[in-house]
Symmetry: C2
Subunit: 105 residues, 2 copies
């Protein structure tokens, strides 16, 4: 089962996209603003934002001729929940394994 959360993990695999998302977490801003603070061109940022948008990690809010991007809190929450669940399961299985070993050495 491939959910859109999977796309989020793939999207966050790129350092530039992580940087962009960290930037947007501070405050929403336009494409040009982001590109000015990164060592890549503006179209490159635009492409990254498209990937992040498809992964439900950012939202767009047109404002005049500019497009203000911001973090998609809902998508981010879903990602966090998935990691939490995974963490819980890993810890649970680890404890179970330890118990089995102490019973049968």
């Amino acid at each position: 089962m491939a959910t859109y959360v999977d796309d989020a993990w793939t999207a966050l695999g790129d350092p530039s996209r992580r940087q962009i998302l960290r930037r947007l977490a501070e405050r929403p801003c336009s494409v040009t603003e982001i590109a000015e603070e990164l060592p890549i061109s503006r179209p490159a940022v635009s492409q990254h934002l498209r990937v992040l948008k498809e992964a439900r990690l950012v939202l767009v809010r047109p404002q005049g001729t500019r497009r203000i991007y911001e973090v998609d809190l809902q998508g981010l929450a879903t990602l966090r929940e998935e990691l939490d669940q995974f963490w819980g399961k890993a810890l649970e299985n680890f404890k179970r394994l330890v118990e089995e070993e102490t019973e049968q050495p």
Copy 2:
């Protein structure tokens, strides 16, 4: 500042590595065991495990001629904390922004 957590995000960017990690979360197992359940060769799995190990997401435990891999709970916890902090900051900044807008429309 590039921490080893950054490597974890990069490592989890690959679908095969996410699959391997999910597999190891169920229970620790050897390289061959993992490869048998994946559509890739054993050396490929070995390379993925190396990346996961460098990212502090898995641990190795030599056992005879076999090498048992398991989830690195400590590294995974660190990753979870980072995501939690990021989530908290994003939510905080969002709230702050809403307040500023309600004050000055």
